[in-house]
Amino acid sequence: MATDTEFGDLSNLSFVLNKPSDVTFETKPKPTIQSPYDVLVKVNYTGICGSDVHYWVHGAIGDFVVKDPMVLGHESSGTVLKVGDKVASVKVGDRVALEPGTPCRRCTPCLSGHYNLCNEMKFAATPPYDGTLTGLWCSPEDFCYKLPEHVSLEEGALVEPLAVAVHIVKQAEVKPGQTVVVMGAGPVGLLCCAVAKAYGASKIVSVDIQPSRLEFNETFAATHTFTPERVSAEENAARLLKETDMPGGADAVIDASGAEPSIQTSIHVVRRGGIYVQGGMGKPDITFPIVALCVKEVTCKGSFRYSSGDYKLAVELVASGKVDVNKLITGKVKFEDAEQAFSDVKAGKGIKILIKGPNEKET
């Protein structure tokens, strides 16, 4: 089977994390079609996620520890190079958004429609699996989503964080006319506001400590913004509800920050009988207003990655213009400048920086 001779003109240079703060560029063996359902893709763009940065800085997230060198990146778009015999939904030359986690399809979570909770999930750039900051990537067909002609490959790389936001908003069960508060105005928080808007929310309150992020969101998706002060969660909540004219509380509150004060404020912001969704990841154990949750009969749910239908909906939201992901792209760098891009993201510069694939030509 021709491996390095097929697509011999393409590079499989990869951005590898060896250990914290130690990244190198290496040429890895090119992946090949393993099953008739596989699709081989040339990676065009990859966005950087906080989790990639976290592995780069700390070498671990919870129980996932980088023990061996691992390619980073998982928010990618690409172009189809080759398809297996049974592939019908994409063909060579199609541009696709890549869903980077392949579940086993056989465990109970998989069979019951929660493949994001698969016991044996193989997720790009979660140890020990290599990520998509590479030249070529092999994906099962049902994890590859064709982009319509008018959607760019850059927008395609934003589908992953948008799918995260879709999953969160679905967990929050946002319905037309409802009020939604989103804690955190990073990429996921911004996209949660945009999805909530697409779901018909009448008020979307964006909360962040960075004024520039709130200013951006005023023209992106939020109807109101709020900057908390260093006071108690109850006081911040009371002021938020007063300023946004939501005396009874918000129908749905989403945390996309992971920050303890935000989580506490959230429970005091949500209305009685409302829904709170934990999307952000910060300290693993926090002080939580549990009595308020109980007395107000709040429904509290976690949200992790994405599952059935989320990617498809994300592509549709971009294609229909309901979510303008282009506005989040603040930088595009050459593959060779990946490490600098990581530094910039860590320093909080811009919103979403895209790294071009190693085979992207300079225009």
């Binding site: 359902y37 056989r106 069979l111 429609g113 099962p140």
Partner: protein, 365 residues
Amino acid sequence: MSTITEINPVFVLHSIKNVSIENREVPKLRDQHDVRVHIEQTGICGSDVHYWQRGRIGDFILNSPIVLGHESSGTIVEVGSAVQNVKVGDRVAIEPGVPCRRCDFCREGAYNLCADTVFAATPPWDGTLQKYYIVASDYCYPIPSHMSSEDGAMVEPTAVAVQICKVADLRANQTVIVFGCGPIGALCQAMAKVYGAKKVIGVDISKSRTDFAKKYAADGVFVPEIAPAGADPVDASRAIGEKIIAQFGLGGGADVILECTGAEPCIQAGVFAAKKEGTYVQAGMGKENVVFPIMMACIRALNIKGSIRYTAGCYPASVDLVASGKIDAKALITHRFKFEEAEQAFELVKKGQEDVFKVVIQGVQ
């Protein structure tokens, strides 16, 4: 290595009403996730009989021979290299429909709706009435040693009942009317009791079947009278529905209707017997198109759902229900046949006698 080539006797439906036993090769594993099961017992389902007699159910049409049977248990005799949940020697109940695992239905957890499901004894797929059957290992569920192979074969219809009750979203202390006191109806009545139903009423035109249902699980039973000639059929069904409500003190109507007959008068009576905002589940299959009291369904804001086969969790729950004795599966088996007598077994089920309930066929020894 044996010098005698092993054979795999199969009970095959060649064309409508044309069955025979023939010898085939022992089937091989298709991939590293497969297992080969030596089938021990197989129950007969109305669908098997229907393919035999009519050659089709809906869009599933018999175009080439198929092995019949899909309600089976057996012993694992060979495992693929990636199999972890079972080993050679394990006794298992087999879930006979393996979906594609890749389509939107599979990915969202509704694998019972996968269009590419490989379902035993649904054309064009072979069923389990053969010595050996090949299936993906995650569709095999170990049964404890105190569960017989016959109990194992009853796991399939029990799983159908589990799914019906799941679709109905049964809660404790509800009132439930089950139309049909055949195996599925009886199992649904038993399942409703397991869910803690306050009152379970079984309905059937056969008095002997309702007598059995009363002993088995139902709190009360009802045998509707045949409507007088010339009576409007929907009015007659309405009268039956209202009579059941009155006789069993169901107030505004039953919380849940489980329709396990597919018979038009029962479907109609079920709609009239439901309370406002009640739940009606269509599980039985009869005439494809029926006269349906749609205005009543609308005005009373009924929640009407279909139920087909089973989804994730149904099989493990069924094994547990049978193993623990919460469901008495064995009580439903009335007739037993050897593999060589398979055609006789089918003839018996076809007759539709009241005293014939679940018929099982032993595997090839």
